[in-house]
Symmetry: D2
Subunit: 356 residues, 4 copies
């Protein structure tokens, strides 16, 4: 008996990516979708095709045929459907008002940032901060909800925390400084990055991004309710890359750590948290010794877009630690497929289940 | 009476950039050029045109018509010409063997790295470390040369040291961490970056670059003979940009410094060193308050490619200092035109002059 | 006494390009500007700066300082100003309703397509179809206007007709087939091309573009009131280029024509029409014999963006004529600066003058 | 019993693509590889790794583990191996001298152009000109070889002829005019396209390409020994795309043809020639009705890179026929995997077999 999933924001790019990640899923079946008013009354397939014949489907990969035949509901209508789970792939503002209404009734796994910083909302990265999931019970109880809101992190945070986690476990982290070179797909299509702005160019600012990464990294890598004590300082830039965020990271550690021991820690990073989940890769974290890797174009699809690749591990003399470059797929691990992985993990933990 | 300049490596991309910087120059006249064997016996204009009709001229801008009519000499033949100055724009290996032979006779201003790390060779950036020029007298004396070798820094170092200099003067620099996003023109054409490697991509490694920047920055910003005491840690990457290096810099300072005071220091950075020189811009360093600047495509040509632009000045909590992004033109300020500016400065100081 | 020019749509990208083309203009002075409601009551400089500090100025080059201090009027307010000329740089829809209201009172030179296909509206390219300007008198009379509407062509048409004109004069044109590779700046910023769509890509369709080019080319190169009798067939694509449209053109001619004679015809193409105008280049049309030229990045700025460059002239055996590649600057010659050139030409012809 | 395949040029990019196409192949096993002298004595895996640790493997996908352990032979040594087939993936010059020496003994399937234009060498595209394969028997007999040389076409020809074939069959082709926008991977790595040349740019010339496409198209679509009677006129350009050639095609037909009937003909294009071959896609040719397709980034991987996608089918009034845009994967269908498909086809026809 599969778990019935709804998708809020199904026609947007993030929603499409969720649908791709749910195609042929062994546990979850998309049984209802919601989109903006202008799609109302049309099937998802119809809503994704302009009258002029051109497609509004922009994700790599395809949705299930059955999902494509579903009618586009309004958010309010979606709320009335018999569902076991909702994936929310809407903008911050829509998430702000609708996610709690869904969470009253059922689990919400979200790609939106609206509730990430609430004190009773954990930002879960399976395999990294699994213990924070306990907080969902508190959230549910305090808010009087049957469900909960479980957001994934910002796509830039994801690669960072997965690469930092084994260092934190092995050596303790004292300071983190990071410069990102982010792909344009992170900005989506509505309000997306203009070609005019990135051709032959770097844009040195992504509004709000640095604050998110700094805050989320400390929340995820801290004990629950207590941000990690180390400071995180970022410069986030946009480069002429389609998919795959690249981050140059400088880490100071509590205990002595060099490139070799950091590599060993990363290579031993256990998959226990996610092993066996349908969307889990063979490795969450892979280390390359080729000095020219990782590269977003060549490494973003490692592990079907779910493996984070670290390279250029070197001693970091200024901070007393290591420096490296990390690449992760911002729209797979960092968005749709990452949300599905989280839902899988929550399902295995018994926090999402088929309603009787 | 103008100063007679020779150009070694005149057909290469770096040499072409020197020739553009010398076009219509009020002080220097190119009176002889040397290129590789295959150009021997042809005029520079001829050597820059393939038999098939396509041009091998790749620099922006043009050389003087008179220079284009000069015959391409061998390096050995160039050595015999009556010259007051040679610009060396050759590869490291060629520079290694030929620059000393020229320096026996006359001043050599070089874009090559071959001698940058010799203890008696200053890496001069006019306006930044003018006092180091004294060392050229020692170099001359110790080596028994009539001339000297005066290299400019690596193009990535240039933007960094010009942005650091006012911070060093005002607050003292304690630590520097930098991630660069470098343009492909920095690699030149021979052995240049393949389109295959940077389309939709970032390459996280440029062999030798980080070592150069770390070493040169400390040499330039130190007292003569004594590298600056602060550590510099870099990650150098290549991005899909034609010209203009972008660097995300994190600086820890000796004395309290915040974004506002750093901006004031940078804006007050004096041009005394270079004011009045023909290739000097109105400002060596400019600060933008637009949070989306500097961008390489939009800011590299500031001051005809000779102004360094800083933006995104923010407090840096981890290192106790400031962080910012800096853009500089790697083939103008950072190469040909920067070499010409240095020659101008040396001429004004009386270190390059018309032979009687 | 300078001619007083208003700019409708001054804050948009096209309007900014008009303002740049009018900076320090010897004949025209911008004395009033209009923009959308949200700019009302602010100076142009203010309207071009977001509260967050980032600039909304995206054109290359700068506007006159005096123009930047002008208050942003509404279109209705602009209509009340004492002006001798209006540049209209608005969208098709806004042009549709506002250009006639301005033309009732004064000359309108427009970058918009709204009136290009009206039977009494010539699409003027100075130096190409000067005789069509007569039609403006009829337009004025028939419509009962004191002014007129004079649109420039679509930016893709411009390079095509300037390269075809000497062939038409010398050999007669029988057929034209063209494939364009267009820069993203042609789409502007509002509704502009997303980076997601052109990174590592070609988009093989630009809605409405092929129809425009086919229709405009025949209108411009025909006798007045009678489209040129030859067919024009186009495929218009978008490529990952910032500025500069590239077109591969195959031309069948009435009379025998080979690459050599076509080159001679193009090189002899007279500038009589535009010589002496402030924005006119030294040559409207230049022929390169380098087989790797023209290239948009390297040739778009020829003649300060006002020279069209043709290259790869070869015999065309299928159509009995010639084939070639042409590059023109779509936002200079093809938009703002081209509109200013047209206004200059009209002024010299006495069709725009200082009101007493 | 599998067929033993050798790969000549195994370390080059084309050779790597052949190796990927042969990975886990049901019929062919790579039992020997040859590379240039500098790889001699090393395993293929070793030869593909620089001493500095960086990989020289640039193809998408991987070679068989067993193949990677093979020693790199010289061409002469490869000649002595017990093989049933050789894939030649070397430069034109190397092919010129070595392919005949291999063909004396065994079948050679080649990506090189060296022998394509010989009168007794067919350029085979399975499913398009299968009847030309008969010529291999003549070639063998006339040259006294036990094997033969069977080259695939230039990668730009491939998409063109596959899209033209159904039109030729249904309507007859009278004229073809084509403008290509080619990916940089077509130029390989050695002598590859520099990033400097294609960033923000189009290069309007690829030496020799137009002649190849014109000649090969007529040879492939003609009767054997008699080039197709219609002229083909091309302009070949290079754009900033990694993989996937885009071609804007204008076709004049013998018999009346419009967009609708052309679409039907293309959709009915039979796969009989290649059906059931391991590397054959479900469709060799697919027609998109989305006006914004095909795009190289989004359509090159259709059918695992073996399906050609046509879109924008429109009536072509000038030539009396149709015009369209076609995208094909230049390094899969157009190179390594296309060569393997040809070898499969030849094996099924009994022209390549396991030696006893």
């Amino acid at each position: 008996m599969t778990i019935r999933a709804g998708v809020l924001g199904a026609t947007g790019l993030a929603g499409q990516q969720v649908l791709v990640a749910l195609a042929h899923h062994p546990w979850f079946t998309v049984t209802a979708v919601a989109a903006s008013e202008r799609s109302a009354g049309r099937s998802l397939a119809d809503a994704l095709r302009e009258p002029s014949g051109n497609s509004r489907w922009f994700a790599d990969g395809e949705a299930d045929g059955a999902a494509r035949e579903l009618p586009c509901l309004t958010a309010g209508e979606l709320l009335e459907q018999p569902l076991d789970l909702v994936f929310s792939a809407v903008s911050r503002d829509v998430a702000q008002s609708w996610e709690p209404r869904f969470a009253e009734r059922l689990p919400v796994v979200s790609t939106a940032s609206a509730y990430r910083y609430e004190p009773d909302v954990p930002i879960l990265v399976p395999g990294v901060n699994d213990a924070h999931a306990e907080a969902l019970y508190d959230q549910r109880r305090r808010r009087g909800w049957r469900g909960f809101i479980a957001p994934i992190p910002n796509c830039t945070t994801t690669g960072l925390v997965i690469s930092l986690k084994p260092l934190q476990d092995a050596f303790g982290v004292r300071t983190v400084m990071m410069t990102s070179m982010q792909a344009v797909s992170g900005a989506g299509r509505s309000g997306g990055v203009l070609a005019l702005d990135v051709i032959d160019n770097v844009v040195p600012h992504i509004p709000g991004e640095e604050e998110k990464v700094e805050r989320e990294t400390r929340k995820i890598l801290g004990a629950w309710g207590e941000p990690a004590p180390f400071p995180v300082s970022c410069t986030c830039t946009r480069v002429n890359v389609h998919d795959g965020h690249t981050e140059a990271v400088f880490v100071g550690t509590e205990r002595a750590c060099d490139a070799r021991s950091a590599q060993a820690a990363m290579e031993n990073f256990s998959l226990d948290g996610v092993r066996g989940l349908p969307s889990a890769p063979e490795r969450l974290l892979s280390v390359s010794t080729d000095p020219f890797r990782p590269q977003p174009r060549r490494d973003r699809d490692a592990g079907q877009g779910m493996t984070v690749t670290v390279g250029r591990l070197r001693d970091e003399p200024v901070l007393n630690g290591v420096k490296y470059v990390v690449v992760s797929h911002n729209t797979k691990l960092g968005a749709g497929k990452g949300a599905v992985l989280l839902a899988e993990w929550l399902a295995r933990e018994g926090m999402i289940e088929r309603a009787p």
